[in-house]
Symmetry: C2
Subunit: 475 residues, 2 copies
Amino acid sequence: MRATLWAAVTAACLFTASALAASRETRIPDGAMATAATLRERALQSDLAWRITESLTTEVGPRLAGSEADARAVAWAEAKFRELGFDRVWKEPVTFPKWERRSERAEVLGSAAQPLAIAALGGSPGGTVEAEIVRFADLASLEAAPDGSLAGRIAFVDYRMARAKDGAGYGQGSRLRSRGPSAAIRKGAAGFLMRSAGTDSHRFPHTGITRFDEGLTPIPSAALAAPDADQLARLLARGPVRVRMALDCGWTGQATSYNVIGEIRGRSRPDEVVLIGGHLDSWDQGTGAIDDAAGVAITMAAGKLIGEMSRRERPARSIRVVAFANEEQGLWGGKAYAAAHEQALTRHQIAAESDFGAGRVYAFSTSAPEHAKAAEKRIAEALAPLGIAHAPGTGGPGPDISPFAEKGLAWARLAQDGTDYFDYHHTADDTLDKIDPRALAQNLAAYAVFAYLAASAEGDFGSAPKLASDEAGAK
Amino acid sequence: MRATLWAAVTAACLFTASALAASRETRIPDGAMATAATLRERALQSDLAWRITESLTTEVGPRLAGSEADARAVAWAEAKFRELGFDRVWKEPVTFPKWERRSERAEVLGSAAQPLAIAALGGSPGGTVEAEIVRFADLASLEAAPDGSLAGRIAFVDYRMARAKDGAGYGQGSRLRSRGPSAAIRKGAAGFLMRSAGTDSHRFPHTGITRFDEGLTPIPSAALAAPDADQLARLLARGPVRVRMALDCGWTGQATSYNVIGEIRGRSRPDEVVLIGGHLDSWDQGTGAIDDAAGVAITMAAGKLIGEMSRRERPARSIRVVAFANEEQGLWGGKAYAAAHEQALTRHQIAAESDFGAGRVYAFSTSAPEHAKAAEKRIAEALAPLGIAHAPGTGGPGPDISPFAEKGLAWARLAQDGTDYFDYHHTADDTLDKIDPRALAQNLAAYAVFAYLAASAEGDFGSAPKLASDEAGAK
């Protein structure tokens, strides 16, 4: 092929690509915008998300993945989807190792003898350790300690997580929780204590999953409530401190729970879905109100409000609401969903998970590629009256969405104000009274509007299997 | 005696009484007012009350009356008084029945199975009760229930205490705690649960002493955290609820603790004292920071600041600081003090206890009779720059002062802002972080000024043994 011919072919190809891009520009129909405005106002007046949150947290309460209560939560979710009139309700199995907390206790020994409020980290083994405490300001300091320097001691990492609207401080806090125990083991420690990854100053330790690196022998690992971390630091400033920590907890085999799914059937493209959801499991100490009954309730209620529309008003695509299993211990439900539905990836228009409490939504963004950016902007316009800013290019997918997003699923983010989220997160204090019903209604309106418009769009939001090269590029 | 002579005698007597009253008018010397102003500013800059609070709550922690930690607290107080340079330090025994909490647990049974956060009430017997719950809105409703109607059931009184700056809501709250269990027993109940006498919405149950009327067989009695009371009420709205409550606690014989006393010697009338203090014991769950390490620290620090004055500036009378034993379980220290010092009542110029947290002092009043009202007003003038209003005729003596006040001791009240006090009171969350060091310094300034001026007064504040007729009149 000669150069001139090559140039002509290239030009033709470019023209074709450009024309194709123009033809696949995703649009939100004007009629859908008008209907979304009505839906938004109806949602703001609705207490349905509140009632669903109240129902789950009251009737089931705490629901640690794999527990008897988790099974009740699954039954609750199925029944609730049916009660709300979802067109299809089903569940998909999710199997994972089961961890349970039986008891935990810590106390300062000696002349300042007193109890300390702790919570075993999820995944910690049981065991009793009585040893001297060595304090570190942060994970890096622990990692910098000489090998073997903690032999027979308990590492205490006193890192103070920062409060932030977008929860940015949790990055460091949860990193310490995940990596701290293994780092402590490498230095020879017999136990691990950390200041809770939280922003409150109440005597509630914050639990959360930890992991132990391959080849290491796990050690009892727990979080101290903030006032107890303060106390330990003050005692250490006076001299050596010995602590006894006794955890009764651990892994107890495999368990199977379920992603529980309800669907509102789309008018013209029912096999294509907009996926919204939250996670059904919670930690075992609170009733999992903000984490994540609220997310399940907001998205169930959004589905229900869309399901109530007249047949003519219903969106083209189906609204699929997923109450994910076992998010807390490693996104088990999200991974299982991605594995089970990988072949149907492109039939997933876009997905959004609500799992950041019950604060107001303040920002909206998506992973939309160029051809869907105008549609994203239109959705943002419909969300603006709720006080939600369009923040293109920010954020990422919710936790249970992320395994599928890694495979190419388009995602949206309705960012919640998480200023207070880490005051309650993973504590016994995560209960219904922490939720403002008006903020919950605003969330409901946001999810209803988003799901309705995405499901009504002409065109897609970019869901497509990632090529090996994409993945390589992403890494 | 004829009528005219009688009239002449009466007139003479009246004249004499009036002249006497004028001559015993209590005065605050101008020089003392000037010195008090300097003391006030010095106290506002001092972190001593904070450091003492930190020391007691950190080094001793929780100190339930009669416990090993209580004995450590007594040793701490003696050592602290000496360290602060008090002129005399001693302790006086206080004997009382000893109660202890070992464990407590409650759970909803059946299809909504879940744990409930409870705390045994002080004085409750141990025991396990598994029974249906009967809810009452308040104590009066429980008292109005038909006899025997609670046979084999658990009474749950869901009274919601009101928030108030002066803590007025606690009257009803603590009345329910004291009288509820006996009322429940009279109706046949096997167990007693109450919504905590508190104003927070966190999962901290509020403990506190209860009593059982003579002739009744005590039943396990506990307080629910507010969110758990909410939860129980919501479950009861759905149908019958069975709960298992298991308390391991109870009376374990007699114990002896101590009122620990430090004195700053007066310049010219050292045998007369102005008494200030707080109570040394605490409940066993928190570190007793606001209840009542703060009160002990404020008054110890006030004594210390007065003790630091030059010999020339020292007040005429001594400043006696008392760290009372076992206030929580029935004013044992206050009663013992009154009994031990009854003969010296008139040598007690006036007394004030700090036992309402660590909020700012906002009002000042005393029991001063007419001849000391001008002096009270002068003290109020010296307190005014601290934002403290003169509120004559309001309030009453602090708890440990009250047994002695009943015998005729003059008292002062430095009313603290208790708006948040019952968020933490008698919970595990009563820890140092709840205290604002600046508010504590304001308290220190208030106590230092009050004690200094009262000890410098020319004349008395009305301490005098009450006559039988006074007592009859008071009743």
